[in-house]
């Protein structure tokens, strides 16, 4: 460590210029490129983006789960003043599960099929604490109670296959929170669940977040969940954050054409049934050959508003437009607002 006196960190979690690259035979895969955001305890940031936009790799990098042998991770992830990037395996192992925990997408396969859930929960306690069997078991039962598993002292003896998907996700949440971590990463926690269960699980996560004052990084592509759960949103596209800000800014005052397209492609109740959804034209970029300039430029319908071929040649910086609202776009602020009015107008949406 050359930095002997690190600058006082503003937020509990600070991700600074985080990049993850995978050298492959076909070329360098840029999975995450200069991602920056920060959150405090008790707050939720949603990272939104389509498949391959780099949101899951961002989550893995924050947990230190990206294999150093196959990937280059640069930048910083400050968790309570400690940099995750560059930690040894052993240091990371001590942080995982105690300071930071993760909930995975598919609860059906995240629990070990051979062990009773009680054994798995107490194991999670024992990895980080020296406690007696009885204490660990009590802790496990208490956690199961908290995540809403009925008669936990009985269910603790059951195997994962005796639980439904939603129940298993509850168990996963119990396991993630059993050591009261201060950072919880939820990687699409509701994607594999029924729609009816999704809301319950999100509610549970938020409820426990309040109780434990946990910082939550929510990875999702479901804007409905984001609207309910997040305080802040970072929209990712082509490995970069293209727009970020507090939730109302992103939903009601979006300025980046990709965010506009994303919002326009969500089905709405007030939409006429025969109307087709408004998809974003084109395909997501290949992470091996990201477009030059603005990553979104090949699909952007507004790029004629920018002079010359700036969009295709120069990479726009992530610049603040309002307080705490960052946008990565070459258009002028006036143009961005005009474009947003047009796009949101076609949705027939009332302004906030």
């Amino acid at each position: 460590m050359t930095d002997l006196s690190p600058a006082p960190r503003r937020a509990y979690i600070e991700v600074e210029d985080l990049s993850v690259q995978f050298p492959t035979e076909d070329g360098l895969v840029r999975a995450v490129d200069g991602v920056t955001f920060s959150i405090d305890k008790g707050q939720t940031i949603a990272i939104v983006g389509e498949s391959g936009s780099g949101k899951s790799v961002t989550a893995q990098a924050i947990m230190g789960l990206v294999n150093a042998r196959t990937a280059d991770v640069t930048g910083h992830v400050w968790v309570d003043g400690q940099d995750i990037v560059g930690m040894t395996d052993d240091e990371l192992r001590k942080m995982r599960g105690s300071t930071m925990a993760m909930i995975f997408q598919d609860p059906m396969s995240s629990l070990h099929p051979f062990y009773r859930i009680g054994a798995q929960l107490t194991e999670a306690v024992n990895v980080h604490n020296k406690v007696s069997k009885k204490e660990a078991r009590d802790r496990a039962i208490e956690m199961l109670q908290k995540v809403g598993i009925p008669s936990p002292e009985k269910r603790i003896e059951d195997y994962p296959h005796q639980f439904s998907g939603g129940m298993r996700q509850r168990v996963m949440i119990a396991m993630a929170l059993i050591n009261s971590p201060s950072l919880l990463i939820a990687d699409e926690p509701t994607t594999a669940l029924d729609v009816t269960v999704q809301a319950q699980i999100m509610e549970l996560i938020l409820e426990l977040q309040q109780e434990y004052n946990t910082a939550v990084v929510l990875i999702t592509h479901d804007l409905g969940i984001v609207a309910d759960a997040a305080d802040q949103v970072a929209v990712m596209y082509g490995a970069r954050v293209v727009e970020s800000g507090v939730i109302d800014d992103i939903f009601y005052k979006p300025e980046m054409p990709y965010t506009l397209g994303l919002l326009a492609s969500v089905p709405r109740l007030n939409q006429v049934r025969a109307d087709r959804l408004d998809p974003i034209p084109g395909n997501p970029p290949s992470p091996i050959r990201l477009p030059s300039g603005c990553v979104f430029n090949p699909r952007c319908v507004y790029k004629d508003r920018v002079e010359g071929d700036l969009c295709a040649t120069e990479r726009p910086a992530l610049l603040p437009t309002d307080l705490g609202h960052m946008v990565r776009c070459h258009m002028s602020k006036e143009d961005r607002e005009a474009v947003a009015t047009i796009a949101l107008g076609t949705l027939g949406r009332e302004t906030a």
């Binding site: 789960l65 192992r93 942080m95 995982r96 599960g97 194991e123 059951d158 993630a176």
Partner: protein, 329 residues
């Protein structure tokens, strides 16, 4: 046979009072195995054979036979052939006597079973241990470690197994003797065990390595890593339990192969030396007298076949019990 429904496939109606409790995979497999009649019969036979092998000295002394004592009265003075029909079967010698020495065949069979099972079982345990450990390390570590273990496996698999065993037997048994293993049969038995294991583990290691490659990418392993589990825990508590099925099947099918291989090697003269015997040795002796005393060949041959077939049937049954979909085409 899509129309026939096996009785085991019928739904089991639980008692009304019976509480539904979770069963571990081991319990499920065991209950499936118990329903398989062939497997259970074979398992009983195997257990009996093992008991017979373990208690061979008691049994022989109870029957009043002995594998080492010569019985000059049961063989003819002229050619040394057994007196009486079927190789000299009598109340004194239930399965006849050996040509030339008059030693009791039943007693030799029991002692031979002992040595065959000792060699095959120990070699199987050693093979399974080596194959599992090296396979897991190779699959999980990847990179250089994987390459080194992988090339070693290739090298061993490429060796002309039989030739090496035959060529090295003299030198290596001598080396074992120098290392303090008692001269003669103990060192020859140890040599066979070592050689069988060294040439056997790569097959299992390859299977295990392949499984590890797929299991380690499963989400529960990732979840355990994210929970802060250390490497030994990941390897032996998260990954290893998923490998029991192939390991168990491989082990149960390797054991009969080793019994056969041991017999073949003894037949070729690498196995135990007289006065001790094993199946291969008895078969080897009997060949010269086959036209006169066929029972001498058939008796150890039949026992050998029973042994190998029952082991194979149990192995198949274990595989079916572990993977119930495999058998129902």
């Amino acid at each position: 046979m899509s129309t026939s429904v096996a009785p085991s496939a019928l739904p089991v109606v639980p008692d009304e009072d019976e509480e539904i409790t979770g069963r571990s995979l081991r319990q499920i497999v065991w209950s499936r195995l118990r329903r398989d009649k062939t497997a259970m019969v074979c398992l009983v036979i195997l257990i009996l054979l093992y008991l017979i092998a373990i208690f061979a000295p008691f049994i022989t002394s109870m029957l009043g036979v002995d594998p080492y004592s010569f019985d000059g009265e049961s063989i003819s003075d002229s050619g040394g052939g057994p007196i009486g029909a079927w190789g000299g079967i009598s109340s004194e010698h239930p399965l006849g006597v050996e040509w030339g020495t008059g030693r009791d065949i039943l007693a030799q069979l029991l002692y031979g079973l002992r040595i065959s099972l000792l060699i095959a079982t120990t070699a199987t345990i050693l093979t399974t241990f080596l194959g599992t450990t090296l396979g897991i390390i190779s699959g999980y570590a990847g990179g250089k470690t994987d390459a080194i273990i992988g090339r070693t496996m290739d090298l061993i698999l490429a060796f002309p197994f039989l030739l090496i065993i035959l060529a090295l037997s003299g030198v290596l048994t001598q080396r074992l003797t120098q290392l303090g293993v008692p001269d003669g049969n103990p060192s020859r038995i140890l040599y066979l065990i070592i050689v069988l294991s060294i040439f056997g583990w790569p097959y299992l290691a390859r299977i295990v390595r392949g499984q590890v490659l797929s299991v380690r990418e499963r989400e529960f392993v990732e979840a355990a890593v994210a929970m802060g589990a250390g490497r030994p825990r990941i390897l032996f508590k998260e990954i290893l339990p998923n490998l029991w099925a192939p390991i168990l099947v491989y082990a149960t099918l390797t054991l009969p192969t080793y019994i056969g291989t041991e017999a073949a090697l003894s037949f070729l003269g690498i196995g135990v030396l007289p006065p001790d015997t094993s199946f291969g040795g008895m078969l080897g002796n009997s060949v010269s007298y086959f036209s006169v005393v066929p029972s001498y060949l058939f008796i150890p041959g039949t026992v050998l076949v029973i042994l190998v077939v029952t082991f194979n049937l149990v192995g198949d049954a274990v595989r079916d019990a572990l993977d119930p979909r495999a058998g129902r085409v």
